[in-house]
């Protein structure tokens, strides 16, 4: 296992700008969802990843369009970064028929099969073994696809995590295990759930490659993912990436959890000073990209988000008659 320090590696401005845009899209979309939940226009239970945007953006930038990603309850970022349609996500959050799951899933169940998002679901750790299965499928079929399991530090409390790492290592499967370690599982800190802050060590334990990195540094995340995806794609097996980060909002909903007695005010302020988007902005400015250009990107993103909200608002609700559709697949497998 290697521990990465913040390194100064400069990527081309165009690439950094696309990271900047990608992170802004996630943040702005989630801020908007938070507002809509607060005003009760939207009722879906929402888990916001604000503060963690560098991870999905950095990881997905290193993937091919055919690669698959698997997520959990906090997966707006995974879906968007992998190319899931923004309008369809917003409509899903609104519970509309035009939603990516036709209003059967809400925020916690996002899907975009054509983009390699076969499903994000809110049972903690549930999709880690599924990602292993996608890796197995890719290996057996020789497709060269890589599977990414996105999960939190809380998911490493479950047996699923340990069993999955072992399987993937044993069969040298093309899987990236991306742990977004935001130091909390609901109201409980990492310290309250394990003796040592050493999730990354699980890689060594299972004989696979592993890195621990600053999850708020999109460049670092991208470079690590790029290497891991290369290893996976060339038959060298899985990698565990422990990305250290912090969620700014509370476990669920738009507030910060201070109101329910989670004592994290100081910590929160400290982490807000390592905003992944601001970090990226600084690098872009240092690289000569003008403030005006960055403002333009932000404005474009805001307009895209507003358009998605308009789309969702204007979309029809699903029809009651659909209630019993799709309990079983309608086509036989071919």
């Amino acid at each position: 296992m290697t521990v990465q320090k913040n390194r100064v590696v400069s990527l081309p401005n165009e690439q950094m700008l696309s990271f900047f845009r990608g992170m802004q899209r996630i943040r702005r979309a989630e801020e908007r969802i938070g507002e809509l939940v607060q005003s009760r226009e939207v009722r879906t239970p929402c888990h916001l990843s604000i503060g963690q945007e560098a991870i999905p953006v950095g990881i997905c930038a290193a993937l091919k369009s055919t690669d698959t990603v698997w997520g959990g309850h906090r997966s707006h970022g995974h879906y968007l970064a992998k190319g899931g349609d923004l309008n369809a996500m917003m409509a899903e959050v609104f519970g509309k028929a035009t939603g990516c799951a036709r209003g059967r899933g809400g925020s916690m169940h996002l899907v975009a099969p054509a983009q390699g998002v076969f499903g994000t679901v809110p049972l903690v750790a549930a999709t880690i073994p599924l990602a292993v299965g996608a890796g197995l499928s890719a290996k057996l079929q020789g497709t060269g696809q890589v599977a990414v399991a996105f999960f939190g530090d809380g998911a490493t409390d479950e047996g699923h995590f340990h069993e999955s790492l072992n399987l993937a290592a044993l069969y040298r499967l093309p899987v990236l295990f991306v742990c977004e370690n935001n130091l909390y599982s609901t109201h409980l800190t990492l310290k309250e759930r394990r003796v040592k802050d050493n999730i990354g060590d699980s890689a060594t334990l299972h004989g696979m490659a592993g890195v621990v990195l600053n999850g708020n540094d999109v460049t670092a995340v991208y470079l690590a993912a790029h290497q891991a995806a290369h290893r996976a794609g060339t038959g060298e097996g899985p990698t565990l990436l422990e990305c250290r980060t912090y969620r700014w909002r509370g476990h669920v909903g738009p507030a910060a959890d201070l109101e329910v007695g989670v004592d994290r005010q100081c910590e929160l302020h400290e982490w807000q000073r390592c905003d992944p988007i601001e970090l990226c902005r600084d690098l872009l400015s240092a690289g000569g990209v003008s403030a005006a250009r960055l403002a333009e990107v932000s404005a474009e993103v805001s307009e895209e988000i507003e358009a998605a909200v308009r789309f969702a608002r204007q979309s029809p609700c699903p029809d009651e008659s659909e209630l019993l559709h799709h309990v079983y697949a309608s086509r036989r497998g071919v």
Partner: protein, 324 residues
């Protein structure tokens, strides 16, 4: 008498059991969680200390297995699963282990554990955050399954479950948490396996579980206004369930509606219907009706949720159907 909410009654049962018996402890993910347990476990850690009130990692399988091991070796654990859906990760310790050990070892080993699972549905939470799977567990020999619908029974059944000496699944429903009712302040037991007659009547028997018992109470008001005299049974325990009470009631009314807000196929309602048909077929004057959830996972969109869940109106419609 003093009234408490359903959630407060659960909390009081915990507090009194913890105070009474040093072998009782509580373990589970979300015990202190500000969202999951409502007020049903509020500040128990402050009162009894975090040695006995254990808010665990997200490790349902290990915590449930550990509780079972502790039960076998002399403790009286209560395991908390804030949603029944999460409890499925502990299917092995519950179904393969806890349920079997007494029989397997000819009564030399017993498993006095209470496994509490909350049904927490609606609110656009969807398929994996809303399941009512009591029938799945009631299917298993060696497990007892209780589902209180009032504050009084919520307290008394928890106490009975902890003292029972067998693995008991205690299933409470978030939709009932704010319900008020009279609750004695002492420690008392509501016997496991005993249903209760909520109302006597002569036209039709309604047997209901958990929050459907509350919905049935509302349905009875409407039906009474329409001149229909309902006999209402709150089942309270779904394994074992009170056959005598149901048979004697249906023997009198000749008509039966069963309301259980879980999937219809292979559910508790099917079990009751089959037993009634098998035991007192000749008493029946009309086909039995079941008010259950459709055989589909729970959707999220409000429109679909409304179509999916059942309540008082569905009970009214079914009663009118069996009387038609």
């Amino acid at each position: 008498m003093r009234t408490l909410t359903y959630a407060q009654a659960i909390r009081e049962a915990h507090a009194q059991l913890l105070a009474e018996d040093p072998r009782v402890f509580l373990i589970g993910q979300g015990v202190r969680n500000p969202w999951y347990a409502g007020t049903s476990l509020q500040d128990l850690d402050k009162e009894f200390g975090r040695e006995r009130i254990i808010d665990s990692p997200v490790s349902e399988n290990a915590t449930t297995g550990a509780a079972i091991g502790a039960a076998i070796t002399g403790m009286r654990p209560i395991v908390f699963h804030p949603r029944m859906d999460f409890m499925l990760l502990a299917a092995d310790p519950i179904i393969n282990q806890a349920a079997n050990w007494s029989y397997l070892f000819a009564g030399q080993v017993s498993v006095p554990v209470v496994i509490r699972a909350v049904i927490n549905r609606g609110g656009e939470q969807g398929a994996q955050h809303s399941q009512a799977m009591h029938a799945l567990f009631a299917h298993v020999p060696g497990l007892k399954v209780v589902m209180p619908s009032t504050p009084h029974d919520a307290k008394g059944l928890l106490i009975a479950a902890v003292r029972d000496g067998n693995p008991v699944l205690y299933i409470d429903d978030r939709w009932l948490y704010e319900l008020d009712g009279e609750v004695p302040d002492m420690l008392y037991e509501v016997p496991i396996g005993a249903g209760v007659l909520r109302r006597t009547g002569k036209d039709v028997t309604v047997v209901a579980t958990s929050y459907m018992a509350d919905e049935a109470t509302k349905a009875v008001e409407t039906l009474t206004e329409r001149g229909i005299d309902v006999e209402l049974i709150d089942l309270r325990s779904v394994k074992p369930w009170d056959r005598n009470l149901v048979y004697s009631s249906v023997g009198k009314t000749g008509r039966l509606v069963i309301a259980d807000a879980a999937w219809m196929s292979g559910g508790i309602a099917a079990e009751i219907a089959a037993s009634v048909v098998g035991e007192i077929f000749h008493a029946l004057k009309a086909p039995i009706a079941r008010v259950c959830l459709p055989d589909a996972p729970a959707p999220t969109a409000a429109v679909l949720e409304r179509a999916y869940y059942v309540g008082a109106e569905d009970i009214v419609a079914s009663v009118e159907k069996v009387l038609a």
